[in-house]
């Protein structure tokens, strides 16, 4: 049998929730280690090896030391996969990009003297692809386990995972949900990448855009819809802040 691909899981600035989703595969985790060799996964095991083919990375990049570490991982990995919103699009960590890093430090740590401490040398938040090329993306906050399985099985079979370029509405309609707009709520589903099986609207919560946008926020169609529902561009900009700060005009086509 062909040698199994060696996989390492790393994290940067994140809540480790996406890694937890992997651990939460429970008995299926045995299936996972059947098809790949996990050589490093801090949240799940003690062992560590630097010899890996696929690096799966959670978290966003905040500090120069993070960039250096990411570059080292990239140089070792044949395939680099961004895991979850923080890694794929910056996610909630980008909310703080609204302010200057120094102001953020001051807000959080007050007058503590942290100058020269590398651990606190924080710049603007970056998604992985702002530092290194990313081969594949597993989107979501947290990731969807089925979506994770879809992409991992594809990679293990040596095929390119399908890149979803259509909005959440497609899956939401298949689930026969009452449209969140019809319920008087503001939902980012129409401009957000699908692949989550529309989990939020299906559970009666509007989409917050955690999988990134498939359409720029300032386009004629979005304007038209906003107008119809008495919303403004400012409303959508504010709603995009949660996961897509600074990316409202960034149609996610980099994949």
């Amino acid at each position: 049998m062909k040698q199994k691909p060696r996989v390492a899981v790393f994290d940067f600035a994140d809540c480790e929730g996406c890694e937890l989703e992997i651990v939460d595969l429970e008995e299926e985790l045995l299936d996972l280690i059947d098809i790949v060799d996990i050589v490093s996964f801090r949240e799940a095991m003690k062992e560590h090896s630097d010899a890996y083919d696929i690096a799966i990375i959670e978290g966003s990049i905040m500090r120069p030391m993070d960039e250096q570490r990411l570059l080292r991982i990239r140089s070792k990995a044949k395939i680099l996969v961004a895991l979850g919103s923080c890694a794929a699009i910056g996610g909630v960590n980008k909310i703080r990009n609204q302010w200057m890093p120094d102001d953020v430090m001051k807000e959080v740590y007050g007058d503590a003297n942290l100058k020269g401490n590398e651990l606190f040398n924080v710049g603007k938040t970056k998604a992985l692809n702002e530092v290194v090329p990313v081969d594949y993306y597993i989107h979501g906050c947290p990731i969807d386990r089925e979506d994770f399985k879809r992409i991992i099985t594809a990679l293990a079979l040596g095929k390119k995972p399908e890149v979803i370029r259509y909005p959440v509405c497609v899956e939401c309609k298949k689930n026969e949900n009452v449209c969140q707009f019809e319920l008087g709520r503001f939902c980012l589903g129409p401009i957000t990448r699908a692949g989550c099986k529309a989990i939020c609207p299906t559970n009666n919560s509007p989409c917050d855009g955690c999988r990134g946008l498939v359409r720029k926020a300032e386009t004629d169609c979005v304007k038209e819809v906003l107008e119809r529902y008495h919303l403004t561009y400012e409303d959508i900009r504010r709603k995009c802040t949660m996961y897509n700060y600074g990316r409202e005009e960034c149609q996610v086509d980099e994949e």
Binding site: T153, L157, G158, R165, Y166, C169, K174, V178
Partner: protein, 644 residues
């Protein structure tokens, strides 16, 4: 036959429904309240059933063509093993409005045509339909003006609320049996039967939304306005979410993909709803998208409903349910609005034609979508990117293809892709394809070797008709991979058994670089045959590459064709190549005087199902997989999407 109408009291109605539920012979589904709207769902008791609903979010198509459907199980451990699905309990659907029943009858015509969809058919036969006459009109519905607010066929039973009782119109023997077994009824009196009509008429008058353009005039109105500004204006604000097609009772396009279990031991081939408004709907393996502009996709949906399908099947594929109008956030999807706008335009001066040819007689053998097992018997590298595979069907039967036809090749876990057959028709069970590594299937194929198993469906489509060329000179023109399917025809006409049927032959072939030229040995053999000439060209020759032929685009070869040997009156031409090539080559041929009906082309589109159902390969009203891929140029020269 006299109409059989029964009466059932409202109290007995509840008993009837509960009896159906508690008997457990059937899965009983009906219209239920679903938050602020209505939806079909399994009934736990008769109380949940709403017969006064306006419209459900999704149409009942979900019970015949589910959102996600497991077509078959495959094994990734055994070389080739397919397990077909799947026993489902018989089902009763209660509360279907007439427009949904009519929509279902329309999809019967599509799914139960010469190429039956076995999965659909089984569900259809397994379902009892209890319709309900409309009591409350959905605010977006315009069914009355589509004449779909009532129906006299398509149901087993039809319920009409006539006050204290329900009138039950019996449509089929199935319905009679159901009533006898589970319900307490009495025969309706003439006055009750009259009441049915009164109820229907009263509701019909209440429709506020009406289409001004009679639906029978839709095909013509569309044919006249293909390039109208309306399509661009309205699609400017399209979200490209395909919500309109998802909720439509007459939209039935689908995609098929493989989902493997995490342990990679097995998996399922899944069919799921697809939508023609989505950008990737027409995307092929090499990355090309055939309706890239949203305007084209937006227009396509209306043409499919109001022109393509009416021309093909004889029905307008809109039943006026108004679901798309509700679902579309920018509110541009509603056919009532679009056709009312068209009604006021009259005609512009378009000359577009949406030609429909007879479907190919070759239908898929066996169960739709289930491939036959085949073995790779020989692998031969052609260039650094192209490889030839010889395949043998494991049932040892010949493929039975004509030159120009294609097959769908499956690698389980990876997917399915179409390939033109490159070998000529043969009695042997082997055939050849040539593959360029571009997508997932071709990449995986490139790692496979002799002895490995793949799945084969087909042959599909209309191939070349060698009879058409009999007694004529032939100019073959191919670019790049175009030589692959063309080789099947070339080898056929050069076969010593048939060579005498054809006169002078010239084969023009262009490749991008010398190292991309395929079948060099065979081409050398071909030109040794009497009356056969070959001319090769490459777009460019890099330093250090060895090349003695022409350099330049394929069109540079045409001056080399001896017009005395290839007199325009008695010469036919075959053209196969990348999309960009056709326009220029056809112009050359026309300049030579070759008539349009003597030029034959083969087109590439996203052929997915191979049997004219999934919708991906449509060029306006035609299915490339069924009516093509080979066409006489004259037939499609005015088809707007063919050579754009």
């Amino acid at each position: 036959m006299k109409e059989n109408v029964q009466l059932i009291s409202k109290k007995d109605m509840i008993t009837f429904i509960d009896a159906l539920i508690y008997d457990r012979t059937y899965e009983v589904v009906g219209v239920k309240k679903h938050r602020e709207r209505y939806a079909y769902g399994i009934l736990d008791s008769a109380e949940e059933l709403c017969l006064d609903h306006d419209v459900t979010i999704l149409p009942p198509k979900k019970y015949f063509l589910p959102q996600y459907e497991h077509l078959m199980k495959y094994s990734l451990e055994k070389p080739f093993q397919v397990q077909k699905e799947l026993e489902e309990k018989p089902r009763i659907i209660i509360g279907m409005h007439p427009y949904d029943i009519i929509a279902l009858q329309q999809s019967d015509l599509v799914y139960l045509d010469a190429q039956q969809d076995n999965f659909y058919k089984k569900r259809r036969e397994n379902t009892v339909i209890i319709g309900a006459d409309i009591q409350k009109i959905s605010e977006r519905s315009f069914a009355a003006s589509m004449k779909t607010n009532v129906t006299s066929t398509g149901y087993d039973l039809m319920l009409t609320n006539i006050g204290r009782n329900y009138a039950v119109t019996v449509g089929t023997e199935k319905g009679t049996v159901l009533l006898q077994k589970y319900a307490t009824t009495k025969t309706a009196a003439a006055t009750d039967i009259k009441k049915i009509k009164t109820v229907r008429d009263t509701v019909a008058k209440k429709y506020k939304r009406r289409v001004k353009l009679d639906k029978n005039d839709w095909p013509k109105a569309l044919a006249d306005n293909y390039n109208h500004a309306l399509w661009e204006e309205r699609s400017d604000v399209c979200m490209e979410c395909s919500s309109c097609t998802m909720v439509c009772p007459t939209c039935y396009c689908y995609d098929v993909r493989d989902e493997s279990t995490l342990n990679l031991k097995e998996g399922e081939r899944v069919r799921t709803w697809d939508g023609c408004l989505l950008k990737d709907f027409t995307k092929i393996g090499s990355g090309e998208i055939f309706r890239e502009d949203v305007k084209e996709r937006y227009r396509h949906r209306f043409y499919r409903k109001g022109n393509y399908l009416p021309n093909r099947y004889g029905f307008v594929a809109c039943v006026g349910c108004g679901r798309c109008g509700i679902a579309c956030l920018p509110d541009i999807a509603d056919p009532c609005d679009v056709f009312n706008e068209l009604a006021s335009f009259g005609r512009s001066d378009d000359t577009a034609r949406y030609f429909i040819k007879q479907p190919s007689e070759v239908a898929e053998k066996g169960v739709i979508h289930v491939p036959r097992s085949a073995t790779i018997t020989r692998v031969q590298a052609m260039t650094d990117t192209e490889t030839m595979y010889e395949l043998e069907l494991d049932d040892k039967k010949p493929l039975g293809h004509k030159p120009g036809q294609f097959i769908e090749l499956s690698i389980f876990g990876v997917g399915e892709a179409p390939f033109g057959v490159s070998s000529p028709p043969a009695d042997a069970p082997t055939f050849e394809i040539v593959v360029r590594k571009v997508g997932n299937v071709t990449s995986r194929l490139s790692q496979m070797k002799a002895g490995d198993k793949v799945g084969i469906r087909g042959p599909f489509g209309n191939g070349f008709d060698p009879k058409m060329f009999e007694g004529k000179n032939i100019i073959f023109t191919s670019g790049g991979l175009g030589l692959v399917p063309m080789r099947s025809l070339i080898k056929y006409v050069l076969d010593p058994r048939y060579r005498k049927n054809y006169k002078n032959i010239i084969i023009l072939y262009g490749a991008t670089r010398p190292n991309k030229v395929m079948f060099m040995d065979e081409i050398d053999e071909w030109k040794k045959v009497e009356g056969v000439e070959t001319q090769l060209t490459v777009d460019k020759c890099e330093d250090g590459q060895c090349w003695t032929g022409c350099i330049g685009l394929i069109t540079t070869l045409f001056p080399k064709v001896d017009m005395k040997k290839f007199d325009a009156k008695n010469t036919a031409a075959v053209v196969v190549g990348p999309p960009i090539m056709y326009k220029f080559v056809i112009k050359c041929l026309q300049t030579m005087g070759i008539p349009d009906d003597q030029i034959v082309v083969s087109l590439e589109r996203r052929m997915k199902c191979g049997v004219g159902k999934c919708g991906h390969c449509q060029i306006n009203g035609i299915y490339t997989c069924k009516e093509g891929p080979v066409f006489v140029y004259k037939d499609i020269m005015n088809l707007p999407e063919a050579f754009e």
